[in-house]
């Protein structure tokens, strides 16, 4: 019983990075840009957040700086895919490796590795937090609650504003959007930077609020899981949130099981999220009739004066 309470209480904490990163990816990909660089941008966010937390020590500022840092690095990706029209898959992969190297180096040079920071205190949502069994779910740090608000805001933007309509049009049919007078590349640039900021926030969450320290490559493939989560969610924010909770729950289960003394091979346990990712992808591929919900122009560069 204690195990269940703890597990449920910890799940949101593990789910938030997946959720925020997936939301950032959806924002970018809805504009037709295939964003595989999430893993790298999360590392940038994580490192920037820790750096700021060690220097200034105000978590709110650290998280904001992390978002700005990831947004800034994403400009490099935007330059590659929008201006130079490099293949978006290649550019995304290159971004990941670049960020892994950059953050590893910077973390060592500045001596930020393995230095603990103070995170944020938890906030209880009274009276929900007094509920039996599930009460612990409502004792979280403020960013967990904020994540829900961010989701509402992004969904509102995408589906309830004219700007959101245009952003989706750019991702579905850039030629049509262009003919309607929408500046396609500007929209894509904004979508890349805004998405990167959310992904950076996801990284900073892991470093500043969960682990509370910087270790090189600490995101451990969560960016990639987010990429597959978006496919699993068929580019719908709410489904992505549900998927993030599922993965968060799986990840949260691992330390709980260890605590109860269940003896499972360590590497098997650590593998579980990735194995689940694979299974989910296979399941999605089998039900591929739904793939129509993929943005129509995902991954296609936009060139105006193209004949034929």
């Amino acid at each position: 019983m204690d195990l269940l309470t703890h597990w449920l209480g910890n799940a949101p904490d593990f789910a938030v990075p997946f959720a925020l990163a997936a939301l950032g990816l959806i924002l970018t990909e809805r504009a037709g840009v295939l964003a595989l660089g999430a893993e790298g941008l999360m590392l940038v966010g994580a490192l920037a957040g820790i750096g700021m937390q060690l220097g200034v020590g105000v978590a709110g500022v650290s998280l904001l700086v992390a978002m700005v840092a990831a947004g800034a690095v994403s400009l490099l990706f935007a330059l590659m895919v929008l201006v130079l029209r490099i293949n978006q898959v290649i550019a995304g992969l290159a971004l990941v490796f670049f960020c892994q190297g950059l953050t590893g180096l910077a973390g060592t040079v500045f001596g930020w590795t393995n230095r603990p920071v103070s995170g944020l205190n938890t906030v209880e949502l009274w009276p929900l937090s007094e509920l039996p069994l599930v009460g612990k779910i409502f004792v979280q740090n403020p960013l967990v609650y904020l994540t829900v608000l961010i989701f509402i805001a992004v969904v509102w933007f995408l589906y309830r504003t004219q700007t959101g309509l245009r952003l989706r049009a750019v991702g579905e049919n850039p030629q049509a959007a262009d003919a309607a007078g929408i500046p396609v590349l500007t929209y894509r640039l904004a979508a890349i930077v805004a998405g990167a900021a959310l992904i950076g926030l996801a990284g900073a969450y892991i470093a500043v609020l969960s682990t509370k320290m910087w270790i090189a490559d600490m995101t451990g493939g969560r960016g990639w899981i987010a990429v597959s989560l978006v496919i699993f969610a068929r580019w719908s924010p709410w489904r992505a949130l549900a998927g993030a909770l599922l993965f968060g729950a799986i990840e949260a289960l691992i330390p709980q099981l260890a605590a109860t003394g269940v003896r499972l091979p360590q590497y098997f346990v650590l593998m579980t999220p990735y194995a689940v990712t694979l299974l989910v992808m296979i399941w999605v591929a089998l039900g591929s009739r739904e793939s129509a919900s993929q943005p129509g122009a995902l991954g296609e560069p936009f060139i105006r004066e193209q004949r034929r």
Partner: protein
């Protein structure tokens, strides 16, 4: 009635990748008129109007709206000057609803999205009713028929406030009744004071609905006239031009029947072929003329063995129905194919010149068995062919085929296809995008193939090319061969058969 120039384009030049699409083009449309822009495919009609709509930037020349010089930086600018264009290929976002698609083109305004969308839905219904058709603004566009999608496009430009309406081949996708309704709608629209530009290649539409017509040919505007004062024959003459049939050389007397196409049609609803019949003899060049999009591409695919659902028969003498033949059998039968898309379908751009040349006979065993490739023989054969077929720009036989220019790429394709003395040659638009010299070289090869006894079928949208090459000409219209001519054929008669409507 006082007429003021609504839209005026003068001295427009525009080229794409070195291909001159427009040369000193002039065009003027007035308020209150339906102005037709007439010409064959590739005459530059759409390019000129895309410039007027702000999609392309001209290299030289000026654009005037209401007699004021304007410079369009994009489609949004064009709509500010009340210019709206309905494209031939609709620019609609398929998963969005009708209202959402129309909202996209409108400038952002304060007010909540929901209320705007609702107001717009009412406007759409009202405007549709005014124009005499029904449209559900909440339906996703992908569920609409082609004619309905076109209505969405028209409403889109009208609700964005367009008063200069450009319609690019609007009737191409419509049935006759639908076309008639559409054209009388736009006629009403012009009578109310707007300017309508009707881009078309259909003489009948011009005669019936246009107040004036400007004829384009080869990227130039030829003449502007009143369609009521000229005959259809005269319009045909202006659109297809009058160049002499230079270069035609007769071949040997035609030999025995080699290929017969019988009642070749697309399965109902899946394509444009509507019962093609033709016979081709050895030692003969059969040219298929016609305005693009009348089923030529599908016919070419079917003959070349590319995936294309068909009913009927393609009967090759001493073999049978060619439709069931495998690629290997086709090679064995010495059928040479030169598809229109030379970089996409005829060559593998990232493979070398040698590999592209040799691949035709690798399967036949000339270059070794499956576990061994005779590189030396491939190279020497390719070198000889490059020499013999005058493929220029080959710095090294190992260079990628994609690096060859259009003409030389085509020569390489011909070198490969003709390397085994073909008995049937199927060619689609062989000189598209080639300069005069390369075109002549390609034509000479086709004639040589005929003279050595091959049956040659040339499908081309370039009437000059067909007239220069063909001993016998079939005109393709609406998925059928509607008329056949022996050389020397009357150009006007062919032109008429190309555009006639039954």
């Amino acid at each position: 009635m006082k007429q003021v120039n609504a839209l005026q384009l003068s001295g427009i030049n525009k080229s794409f990748d070195g291909f001159q699409a427009l040369t000193d083009a002039h065009f003027t449309a007035c308020w209150g008129e339906v102005h037709a822009l007439l010409g064959e495919n590739g005459a530059g009609k759409s390019s000129l109007m895309n410039i007027a709509a702000g999609l392309y930037a001209p290299e030289t020349g000026s654009l005037m709206v209401d007699d004021n010089l304007v410079r369009l930086s994009g489609p949004r600018d064009a709509s500010r000057y009340q210019i709206g264009m309905v494209h031939q290929h609709f620019k609609l976002v398929k998963p969005f609803t009708v209202a959402q698609n129309i909202l996209l083109g409108l400038p952002a305004e304060p007010g909540s999205y929901r209320t705007r969308l609702q107001a717009l839905e009412q406007q759409i219904s009202a405007k549709a009713q005014e124009l005499g058709f029904v449209l559900d603004p909440r339906q996703p566009v992908e569920q609409l028929s082609i004619a309905e999608q076109q209505r969405v496009e028209i409403l889109k430009v009208l609700l964005a406030g367009a008063r200069i309406l450009i319609l690019d081949e609007p009737t191409a996708v419509l049935t006759d009744q639908e076309a008639e309704r559409l054209l009388s709608t736009v006629q009403t629209f012009a009578q109310q004071g707007a300017a309508v530009v009707l881009v078309t290649h259909k003489m009948a539409d011009v005669k019936r609905f246009a107040d004036r017509v400007t004829v384009m040919r080869g990227g130039k505007t030829i003449q502007t006239l009143n369609p009521q004062h000229v005959s259809v024959d005269e319009l045909v003459r202006l659109t297809v031009g009058e160049s002499a049939q230079a270069g035609y050389t007769p071949g040997p007397p035609a030999g025995p029947l080699r290929l017969q196409v019988r009642e070749l049609r697309s399965p109902t609803g899946s394509g444009p072929l509507a019962g093609v019949n033709l016979s081709l003899h050895a030692g003969q060049i059969y040219g298929i003329a016609g305005v693009g999009g009348n089923g030529q591409g599908e016919l070419a695919n079917a003959l070349m063995g590319l995936p294309q659902p068909t009913e009927g028969e393609i009967h090759l003498e001493s073999f049978g129905d060619l439709r069931g033949a495998s690629a290997e059998q086709r090679r064995e039968l010495r059928i040479a194919c030169i598809p229109a898309d030379r970089y996409g379908a005829a060559l593998a751009g990232s493979l070398s010149v040698v590999e592209n040349f040799a691949i035709g006979q690798v399967h036949g065993g000339r270059y070794g068995s499956f576990w061994r490739l005779l590189g030396t023989r491939m190279r020497s054969d390719a070198a000889a062919a490059v020499q013999a077929f005058d493929v220029q720009g080959v710095r090294s036989l190992e260079q990628n085929a994609a690096l060859l220019s259009g003409g030389n790429a085509q020569k390489l394709v011909i070198a490969r296809e003709f390397s085994r003395d073909p008995q049937l040659v199927v060619v689609h638009s062989p000189s598209r995008g080639l300069d005069v010299r390369a075109t002549q070289a390609v034509h000479a090869r086709l004639r040589a193939a005929r003279d050595s006894g091959a049956a040659v079928l040339v499908i081309s949208e370039d009437l000059d090319e067909v007239l220069t090459l063909a001993d016998r000409i079939g005109v393709m219209n609406s998925g059928r061969i509607v008329a056949e001519f022996e050389h020397p054929a009357d150009r006007q008669a062919i032109g008429k058969a190309m555009v006639s409507h039954d």
